[in-house]
Point group: C2
Chain length 296, copies 2
Amino acid sequence: MAHSAPPAGPAADEARTAPDIDHEFDRDTALAPRGNGEFDAVISGGWSILGAVNGGYLKAILGRALALTLPHPHPFTATAHYLSTPAPGPAVLRTTLLRAGRTLSTGTASLLQTDEHGAEVERVRMTATYGDLDALSQHVATTATAPHVAPYEQCVAMDAAGGPGALGDIPIVERLASRLDPDSTGWALGRPSGRGRMAGWFAFADGREHDALSLLLVGDAMPPAAFDLGTIGWTPTVELTTHVRARPEPGPLRVLVATRNPAGGFLEEDAEVWDSADRLVAQSRQLARMPRPAAG
Amino acid sequence: MAHSAPPAGPAADEARTAPDIDHEFDRDTALAPRGNGEFDAVISGGWSILGAVNGGYLKAILGRALALTLPHPHPFTATAHYLSTPAPGPAVLRTTLLRAGRTLSTGTASLLQTDEHGAEVERVRMTATYGDLDALSQHVATTATAPHVAPYEQCVAMDAAGGPGALGDIPIVERLASRLDPDSTGWALGRPSGRGRMAGWFAFADGREHDALSLLLVGDAMPPAAFDLGTIGWTPTVELTTHVRARPEPGPLRVLVATRNPAGGFLEEDAEVWDSADRLVAQSRQLARMPRPAAG
């Protein structure tokens, strides 16, 4: 795919400039503008879990398209509905501006692929309100406290905790330097805690620092909290909403994923994301189906 | 507004039959089908707070339009983005089916009004995935526990806690028989607890029982948790997502609204809704702006 020059637009921002081709996340979310709010993309197979493209990764592609379309640079709240199963390969993004205000703007983005009969099929629909994190007041009155996560060096690498042997093919693990708190690894040893809780560190394997865009990935890139309930397998996301509340400071992020309401074959999963300055930089919630057993 | 007969469609359901004109909530969310997924509605002035139409009430109107359009009857997850300020009076709803699956279907709905220049302006955009609550498994593994709320008779009526004297004009209070836990009323007496927590009972004044549709209202119809932080005023919702997880049993609902991350001029508000059978029937989260002082 040939990349055009970044589109001329409002204020310069990291999400508006040419993709940082030094890092996998940016290469694999790169867009080629077609004009009229349309973009070409290529869905990488490198962010998959058990053969399914990760929903947070898809959300980041849609998030980049809206950052290039809306007059504000950062997703403040973004909701993705997952409509059909995407495959690695070419995709088209179509964006629509719904409203542009002074401090916030809202738009929708669709990610589409062509099926085997040549028909266009929508994979993901996202609606999001964007703003400028750098324009917010510095007033922080957060009452939440950061979760206990052991120091990074004492945490367990994902491929050690539950790698291919436990779960099948998980190429996303190779892109990440994420680590699980030892207290959150019982499921991989057949001893889930039953609390529905997964805590750890989130980082990119190639050292890319986090920004507002990559926070869209974080909320869906830890092992599902359902694993800690003893139900291990693909947990298809129905809908994922992420609030991005501050630009993260450099360094690995602490993430706590938890579910409190598994019932009727569905569960909610809440993620909170803390940066190195002890700021609650993102909160996400998804509705997912309870895991189906991994295919042997 | 003349009401047409309910449209011929798939399985019969409460949201698909003629509006229950015995109850205010149903009268004020009634729709007249135009065909092609379009509906006429009249936004009532009776669900307003400080001059602003309640966002949960608007969401219920959109939810009814999607229940009439999608092949499944109940909102499982619904996200509304509030784009511009609606006024009581006529509105048009336009719905689009994005995907119809066997167990879930997804669509979008727009609520539009005509401005003073005759131009159509979008007020709210909702994207939602619908299913059939009655088709879900009976397996409940909820680990959350219901919040402590004093018995209904010992709780404080909203107009007593913070009626017109404290907050200005709040017609929505007259539609509700909701009550606040005595522990959540300090803000109305100038003594907010500072915990950012609001617990109480939610019920309709005219005795209408709750269903999946009215749960879309509940998540936005308690006093904002920010009041308990001492910041009292209109708290404009940017985005509100509601998960409906079970059909509520009859009786008033217990609701806990809480914020943990007020920062940078925004806050998240989480609501959990429990029915008389101690089931966590709905969870909602919104991103809102910190309250602006009420106009004197």
